[in-house]
Amino acid sequence: MGRGLTKVYTSGEVEVRALDGVDLDLHVGELIVLLGASGSGKSTLLNNLGGLDVPSSGTLRYRGRDLTGADEKTLTAFRRDAVGFVFQFYNLIPSLTARENVALITEISPDPMPPEEALRLVDLGDRMDHFPSQMSGGQQQRVAIARAIAKRPEVLLCDEPTGALDVKTGITVLEAIEKVNRDLGTLTVIITHNAVMAEMADRVIHLSDGKISKIERNSTRRPVRSLEW
């Protein structure tokens, strides 16, 4: 739950208002798509939601935890226990295999699923012992999703997860995200500038100039398989 979230970056003498009074409520099990153009503030919002950054003003609460003015230690614990991240460029550790990249996270989580199970969930049961350099981009991104969900996070945050992929591969990645949301009931937030993806969401939040310009609710989520762009 966020109220009046504002984030101001000062770079040199220039002040950038990346978020400007955003009010937002997210619910368990939802699949949210955050839609906005480059510079609309969507990444900043995601960073605040994920505990990578704190708002300059406003309040941000997560299940009774106040993250507004949290210190580094609290934020780290929050990310560790509650949040799964999927990045545009996968950010896998090149020196670890798929299984080990997942295990890296499960070893520090209180209640993880076995790495193998997480990888099977994203249809990579047969590539567990491959290194990142031996996999395609789509496969790497699915490993990243497996890594993010293996700790059974309450929130899954995906920052342009298909941004570096072609359409066909992008679809397989989105399918994996959709499956996780459906099977595990994880609150999932996808950031994208690709409007087509809006149709797979429960709710679509449009951002521009650091403000929420519009919130849409889809009556039915469109299956990822049928998306096209």
Partner: protein, 789 residues
């Protein structure tokens, strides 16, 4: 002049990585400091020595004899190849010094009055030369005078050949033959108890019953003449006069000490710099390879704008030059400072009219050339790769790192390690050379502090072995000349003497095949309790009824084994020549010894109960009585107190060892700190993105540091045993290179030495890592989510 844009870039880039540049530069500085110090010391010693020897006409050949008429001097001067001859009266004297309970002794030499001094000219520090005809005026050697605060005008009571004489000090002097001013055969100077005196020839000759005669001759050999032939002729002419074997500068006690020191410095000026510079070169190459990888796109742009490959390559080579510059600047200053300190230390060992530090600028130039060539070579590969890349390709980010299953998987033991250990192992395996040199650097850092530890322990072992286990006498008393049984009885009945054993010491030449060596054979009683010959384990070797027990080192020099027969040419009395068998080898660490049953030696010399002195064991409670009395016995030439000898040895070496230890510890700290810092910074830069990702997904700072440390910890673990081994080898090398006739340090490696070395490295590596790991806090987490660098 406007600075070129590329150079501005250089300055700013260097500013951003100053920590790393400094770390590498300092490691390089260690090697350069060592090189500049050693080369400068060599230059200082050699320049000073050459000047001193030349200006003061240091002789080439030396010979002692019993007594020859002065008329023989002209005959000696006619030997072909002889440029100048000086004949002298030389003797020993004893002193009872106020404020010093132990007796001191000295050597006294004549100064001619009827002719100018031709060789071994004296350098007068203060005062004047003795006036002709003025009895008992003397010059005193500077080291001894300084140790006791004697000045011209002071008087000194001495015993000259049994008679008490009051000497008037008129001047303080130095001689090129006493640059190293120590009792003949002694390893270290003991300036409190040994001094050199010079007196008018006529007075000294009278005191020593040498009127119109001489007992010592020194010769200057004309350039281009063989010293050997001069020595042979000298031996032939002096034989009827009781001549001992002539020897040249190589066997001259003082000259040899200087040669040994220079030889050790020579070794040091090559071995250490090579090791340090190779580590520094690799560090340079690792740092710059990283810079070039990071600046791939900038390189592409420069090339796209039209900079030539040579310009771009030159730009990156300048980074290496900056490091060399730091190394040379710091190393140059440190090397000179160290050199100056060591020169100050040298003043305790070597007496020159003036010994000043000469910086060897040639060596500095060489150091610059060597280190810049080495580091240029180190970065050439990376620079060439960067320059070769077509601009369009270079602008694309580097392809992702390629990892393969590592040795772990091939061995099937991967499950024993957690993911962070596996990351570390695979990284190491992927860059084996980087890992190798990092480990080598750390191993070197572990090895360096072992050297001074081993030296200190070696010296302590030597002192105990030589002067507690082997030579157990409290005092060695030597007589002015060989005497008979009555003299022994006098010594045995000195107050406090519990046990006394006579010894007979005879100058001989030992020959085996082509090899020969001159030394004194010492006869001691069979079943001796005091001056014992020991084996390698410190157990006494029984003295055989005939034949010799000789030092292992002497056996090595003569290339003999037990059972071989030596030709022994006695240089005293009737000068018999005979064949003796080597019955066994003894272990000793100072000087060269050859022992024989005293009875067998006397039979050989056809003498009765003759002796040169006695080893005494003295009751501690009557020590003062003993000292008071021993000073009065007329026939005594010298009194050497074992405890004082040990103490003086310990004191003199302690300061050098402390200085060496300080230097080596500092170098070890710099290398371990620098190597760890550099490796960690490179790892942090190469894997910053990975590490930041870990932070984003919930790893704490500490856990991320753990991932980073894993690799270095593994290298350190490998480096420690390797380093202990290297340290042992290094210590052995140094001990071996310093092993001479006069002193041989045993290699003693203790747990304490090892533990100290490991501790130094772990601590400095730990601090270094801590400094770097603070940077993990500053990882930009948000940047990770954006595009690749």
């Amino acid at each position: 002049m406007v600075m070129r844009a590329l150079d501005l870039k250089l300055i700013r880039d260097v500013g951003k990585m100053k920590g790393q540049m400094l770390a590498v530069g300092l490691v390089m500085a260690c090697g350069l400091a060592m090189m500049i110090m050693a080369r400068s010391l060599i230059l200082s010693l050699e320049v000073t020595r050459t000047e001193y020897y030349e200006h003061h006409r240091f002789a080439d050949v030396f010979c002692d004899l019993k007594r020859a008429p002065n008329a023989l001097r002209d005959r000696l001067a006619e030997i072909p190849g002889v440029a100048a001859v000086e004949t002298r009266v030389m003797g020993s004297l004893r002193m009872d010094l106020p404020g010093q309970s132990e007796p001191a002794d000295g050597t006294i030499l004549s100064i001619p009055e009827d002719r100018p001094l031709r060789l071994n000219l004296l350098h007068l520090r203060t005062g004047r030369f003795p006036e002709p005809g003025k009895a008992n005026e003397v010059l005193l050697s500077e080291a001894f005078a300084t140790a006791h605060g004697f000045r011209p005008g002071d008087t000194l009571d001495v015993i000259l050949r049994g008679g008490k004489v009051r000497l008037h000090i008129v001047g303080i002097a130095l001689s090129p033959e006493y640059v190293f001013e120590a009792r003949p055969g002694q390893v270290l100077p003991d300036n409190k108890r040994f001094g050199v005196f010079w007196m008018n020839e006529r007075d000294l000759a009278t005191a020593y019953d040498m009127d119109g005669a001489f007992n010592n001759v020194v010769v200057d050999v004309a350039p281009g003449t063989s010293t050997k032939s001069v020595m042979a002729e000298l031996d032939r002419l002096l034989a009827p006069y009781g001549g001992l074997i002539a020897y040249d500068r190589r066997d001259h006690g003082s000259a040899k000490q200087l040669d040994d020191e220079i030889a050790i410095l020579n070794g040091m000026s090559i071995a250490f710099p090579v090791v340090f510079l190779s580590i520094a070169t690799f560090m340079t190459s690792a740092v710059l390879a990283r810079v070039i990888r990071l600046q791939r796109e900038q390189i592409a742009q420069m090339k796209a704008f039209g900079y030539s490959p040579a310009q771009v390559g030159g730009h990156y080579l300048k980074f290496a030059l900056v490091i060399v510059g730091i190394g040379l600047f710091v190393g140059g200053i440190a090397g000179m400072k160290l050199g100056e300190n060591i020169v100050r230390l040298y003043h305790k060992f070597f007496q020159f009219p003036s010994l000043t530090f000469h910086a060897d600028f040639g060596a500095i130039g060489m150091a610059f050339a060597v280190s810049s060539a080495a580091s240029m070579l180190g970065v050439l590969g990376a620079v060439r790769q960067a320059v070769k890349l077509p601009p369009a390709e270079a602008m694309r980010p580097e392809p992702p790192a390629d990892f393969k299953p590592s040795l772990l998987e091939r061995l099937g033991v991967q499950n024993l390690f957690g993911p962070s250990m596996r990351m570390a192992l695979r990284n190491l395996e992927r860059k084996p050379w980087q890992a190798f040199f990092t480990a080598l650097g750390l191993a070197l850092a572990v090895g360096i502090p072992i050297v001074p530890g081993a030296m200190r322990d070696g010296i302590n072992f030597l002192l105990d072995f030589q002067w507690t286990l082997a030579q157990r006498q409290d005092v060695t008393v030597s007589l002015i000349e060989p005497s008979s049984a009555g003299a022994f009885s006098d010594l045995r009945h000195l107050p406090g003497v519990i046990h006394a054993e006579p010894f007979r010491s005879v100058p001989v030449r030992l020959r085996f095949g082509q090899r020969s060596h001159r030394l004194a054979v010492t006869g001691v009683p069979a079943g001796t309790l005091l001056n014992r010959a020991l084996d390698a384990h410190g157990n006494p070797l029984p003295l055989p009824p005939d034949g010799l027990l000789i030092s292992g080192k002497l056996a090595e020099m003569l290339d003999v084994e037990p059972g071989d027969s030596l030709r022994m040419e006695v240089q005293e009395g009737r000068r018999p020549h005979c064949t003796v068998a080597v019955q066994g080898l003894i272990t000793d660490y100072a000087g060269l010894a050859a022992y024989m049953d005293i009875e067998a030696l006397r039979r050989l010399l056809q003498e009765g109960a003759s002796l040169n002195g006695a080893h005494l064991s003295v009751d501690r409670s009557r020590w003062q009585d003993f000292l008071d009395k021993v000073k009065e016995v007329p026939r005594i030439g010298g009194v050497s107190i074992t405890a004082a000898l040990k103490e003086s040895f310990r004191k003199t070496t302690a300061e050098s060892i402390n200085l060496i230890q300080g230097i080596y510890f500092l170098f070890s700290i710099i290398v371990s700190f620098g190597v760890v810092y550099n490796s960690a910074r490179i790892a942090l830069s190469e894997r910053g993105r990975d590490l930041a990702t870990l932070r984003v997904v919930g790893f704490t700072n500490r856990e991320v540091a753990g991932v980073l440390i894993g690799e270095l910890a593994m290298l350190t673990l490998v480096a420690i045993p390797a380093g202990l081994w290297i340290g042992g080898r290094l210590a052995n090398l140094i001990v071996q290179s310093a092993s001479t006739e006069t002193v041989r340090l045993p290699l003693i490696l203790t747990h304490q030495t090892y533990a100290t070395a490991v501790l130094i490295v772990l601590l400095s590596a730990g601090v270094s890592f801590f400094v770097v790991s603070r940077r993990i806090r500053n990882l930009n987490l948000l940047e990770v989510l954006k595009a690749r660098e």
